[in-house]
Symmetry: C2
Subunit: 293 residues, 2 copies
């Protein structure tokens, strides 16, 4: 089955499992709005790709891990978009959750998504229940204190922060959780997969910075120039666009080189390169080089 179809089917099932008529309907609608239609589903695709490379011998557990990662990512987007943070009116080309459902349901739908992320893991019809505790710890580490994405967002509330620490927690942590969870769900050793996730996370963050400065808001599905408007650290603003693009390509090369030896290594490296082109298209790089010349 196509991984994207596999992930979306698992996400639909996860949301359906808690969307009963006896619950508050606007909360259910806000949760659906946060998850569908989705973005590129990068983290769950990464998780599934690594699990497949490791044999994927417990597909229900892989699906649960992938869904959990995506729900946690969606929760972080909903809360990051709140008025007290980015105050983003749109997300993925449609109104953000707080714009569509109000601030209160945005807070609550983020909370509900975090809870559901762990519920889905525990409820998976898994073959290898002895993997559950480790998998939950791995995914939770990518989200919570002290180095997960919630901590990454919290660095924005500190008077002093290193750009690298901030980005590693804000983005890298959940990418590393995705690669390691994919390995763990399939019974592989997780640690060798950490570096791939960390390099990719850093590459995505730099790509996001480039796109925030250079890309088309319609293509991006969210307003551009937000980092500057919000006074947030931005690699492209700090080092210039061309420097950021060069740095991005270095990070992608590191990621491809970090794929551990395994049956699916070639396929994974090809996936990394395809993602690189999707994020920062060669055409955009040419445009930028010409604009500077």
């Amino acid at each position: 089955m196509d991984p994207m179809h596999r992930i979306d089917r698992a996400l639909v099932a996860a949301l359906a499992s808690v969307d009963l008529p006896s619950g508050p309907p606007r909360l259910a609608a806000a949760v659906r709005h946060a998850v569908f239609p989705g973005g590129a589903r990068v983290r769950p695709r990464l998780c599934v790709a690594v699990a497949l490379a490791c044999g994927d011998d417990d597909p229900a557990l892989t699906d649960a891990a992938a869904v959990s990662l995506e729900l946690l990512h969606c929760a972080s987007l909903v809360h990051d978009d709140l008025p007290c943070f980015d105050d983003a009116p749109t997300r993925r080309g449609v109104p953000s959750v707080h714009s569509a459902y109000g601030e209160r349901l945005a807070v609550l739908s983020g909370d509900a998504l975090i809870v559901l992320a762990f519920q889905v893991l525990a409820a998976a019809p898994m073959r290898q229940p002895q993997r559950l505790a480790g998998l939950i710890q791995r995914i939770a580490s990518g989200v919570g204190q002290p180095h997960g994405i919630v901590a990454g967002q919290a660095w924005e509330c500190e008077p002093h922060v290193l750009l690298r620490d901030y980005q590693r927690a804000k983005t890298g942590a959940l990418f590393a959780a995705a690669t390691m969870a994919g390995a763990e769900a399939a019974g592989g050793a997780p640690e060798p997969w950490r570096a791939l996730g960390e390099w990719l996370g850093e590459a995505y963050q730099v790509a996001d910075d480039i796109r925030d400065v250079a890309a088309d808001p319609v293509l991006l599905g969210k307003p551009i120039g937000r980092d500057q408007a919000l006074g947030r650290p931005n690699m492209a603003a700090a080092h210039g666009l061309l420097g950021a693009v060069a740095h991005f390509h270095q990070l992608v090369a590191h990621a491809a080189a970090a794929v551990p030896d395994c049956r699916g290594a070639q396929r994974l490296r090809a996936l990394v390169r395809a993602e690189s082109e999707r994020l920062v298209p060669a055409a955009l790089c040419h445009q930028l080089a010409q604009a500077v010349a």
Copy 2:
């Protein structure tokens, strides 16, 4: 060991496990502020009391369940106190988290607490790992969609809601999760323990309504009259104080009667009665009766 000491020791250990110098210090401080000093720790005490009544053969798992319930409760208080909900300046006699650390860290510390609640369960040095999946599902049901405390809070965002549905989700759900999780952590059948939790949850909600109208703000540690100010459903406002007090005592009697047959039944019933007196003291009932006469 005294249950209160046991719970506080487990809470301290849980927070210490994620409070590293490499994480954002203000987030760690906000999380600590949300958990210490605590309130009555009612849900974890209830969980431990039921586990003890069921034999408590895996104390590390019981402790993890108790900690998880309290962290989820603390998270809900932090988010309920946010400006978009109750906008409460104080909680437990000290500034609320958003008053002390700002709205952004209040959102993030609530998120971090929810994540930690599940991390603690997965990381417990348990003897019976086969109980983990059921325990997580049980606790998550008390918090998430469609009938957990997040859903209860979301009923406040619906145009129509039944007072009973609202209160059952907002308070009863986590109480039922506490009794059932206590049984499950100790290897007992959870379902027979649901009714005790539900009756107690309803009793606590009615007691809270009574105290919101009648009690001393210093004693309560939070401003009184908030329900009326916020236009929220309140049993005491709807049925008069004396009617609410009579209803409270009925609920406590139902709770005591709902304790399943077990070795610790007598002790649990005594605990229920002691809690009843702590919540709505006989002296307060006399005062109210005299004021009406």
